[in-house]
Symmetry: C2
Amino acid sequence: MSEPASTSRLGPRSVIGILGSGQLGKMLAQAAGRLGFRTHVYGDDAGPAFDVASAHSVGSFTSLARLDEFAANVDVVTYEFENVPVVAAEHLAKTVPVLPGPKALAVSQDRQVEKTFIRGIGIPVAPFMGLASAADVTAAEAAMAAWSGPAILKTARLGYDGKGQLPVATPADVASAWRDLGSVPCVLEQRLAFACEISVLAVRSLDGAVATFDIPRNEHSGGILRRSIVPSGLPAPLEAEARSLAGRIATALDYVGVLAVEMFYLGPDAATPLVVNEIAPRVHNSGHWTMDACVVCQFEAHIRAVAGWPLGDLSRHSNAEMRNLIGREVDEWPRLATAPGTCLHLYGKREARDGRKMGHVNVLSPRSPD
Amino acid sequence: MSEPASTSRLGPRSVIGILGSGQLGKMLAQAAGRLGFRTHVYGDDAGPAFDVASAHSVGSFTSLARLDEFAANVDVVTYEFENVPVVAAEHLAKTVPVLPGPKALAVSQDRQVEKTFIRGIGIPVAPFMGLASAADVTAAEAAMAAWSGPAILKTARLGYDGKGQLPVATPADVASAWRDLGSVPCVLEQRLAFACEISVLAVRSLDGAVATFDIPRNEHSGGILRRSIVPSGLPAPLEAEARSLAGRIATALDYVGVLAVEMFYLGPDAATPLVVNEIAPRVHNSGHWTMDACVVCQFEAHIRAVAGWPLGDLSRHSNAEMRNLIGREVDEWPRLATAPGTCLHLYGKREARDGRKMGHVNVLSPRSPD
């Protein structure tokens, strides 16, 4: 893959190209707009980002002709989701910078590659084993028996919000779980008992500077993020270590933009208190609180990075709790619109399907003393 | 003029129509987008608001056919500037709600009507006299002699950012100043010695609830707003009085949306410490700090009001200083992009002409104790 031409600093009215028309693309486009950029969103359907962009195109992510038209109209390309086909990113990168770069995409699209990469730079991950074909089942059963305790089987590719995952109670259940996931390449991981889940939103600029937002503690339910709470309540040295791990990953990927690194905190007595669960080469739901509680939010930080700008001040002025509005929960908006300290964000999606992220609120309160 | 049909509460994906494509229209459109609304901007040229709206139309504000097309595509109409022709607002109001209502437009488009209205509801304004024709010059000279001290002559219509204004040192200068302003209808006002200028951003909802943002102290130079600083430093009872005056004006106008009320503070010893200078039936430059320092900003509050929503929490979490970037000052953006506590807003205008508002920064600091 050709490396993108060195992006010079893009000036006002440059055009930020965004692949993906969902809520992350929408919030990226709005942040770009605030900085005086124009935006062009490319999506395979007309999602909410189209409503706030300067221009938009509907096209498949595999239509090179449509992608060429898009590339001709933008000064840089970024994306809202990690499943942009690498072939599309490679094709675009021939004519326009694509940031974050293709390496981050390739690594994060396959759980086995991702975990192997993270472990390879000396950062703890849960014990795991690839399960690519039926021939691997016996070895996976043996590995699980050696870890002891329950495991999780995850498809190597295209999982999100708990989709493509099944719990595995005993080694004898590995084979049936793999069949239930369609016998596609999977990763079997030890299910770790953790004290809490956190995430680090790291940002790396084009010149290699790394900064991190304050760290949220995240609560999931049914595989979907429900709440992110800042400050996390974790001890400061542990947060410093988490920031450092995320920065090391960003640097090792030669990353540009916001990188989300999800971690488990296993508790103070664990040999490795922090274990990286997964990374996302993009802005992230657990960073939505930054929109209302920080000087520069994750969306603006990402746009600044891909535009070759300095990252700015990511500091937090308020405590924040982000709550997702999922499916019909969005119907609560009239009550939420009057709630004290409550910043309401509605994505403007047409249909409130079950499990669909329809909006979020950031509830602010005065910043606790450090 | 027909009153608009009672607006029911608009739901997500409703279309907010915005007259005017400048930076205020842009920031209104971005706020509407955050709430899940779509936006349609109508401008007489392709201004920055076009870059962030769901749809846009170029048309004259007097083309009823173009306005009809616009009206057919939106659920409510609001505007970013007070010089929307009343005939256009009246025409639109036949088929779609226009908020704030036509009364506010009519009153604020003519300084003499505006000052007469404000004085008429018992609120102090500077001594003034209309100067509609040459026949009024002698009376204006006499009025000025009676006030004592210098005066200002302002065109009754279409002034902004100090344009259409001339200082008048002595009564003998009235006639020449009036000629220099083109012998159009003017208002002669006593120039008051004031301690400082403040503004109240009041918001009134469709059901008549009034709320106000915290009060900025404003600094002008050459007739253009340079800085707005919050908190203002004024005594709390005086701020309470200022909020009350602005609320009375909003209610008397049967207003819906954000109303900006500029006031002079004449000092503690004045008979009337607060005097209203002028009003603007729209979001206002002196409220830009609310974008980064309040739970709900002036743009969102305005959109909420015209959509029939509750106003939400307008409280302020940080101290703020807003500085305008005027003309070539915008070239400082690379330095401002790294400054601590600094939220950067660039409007994306094509040309940095002298005196043109190109962007602003909001510099945040921890909120002072009340």
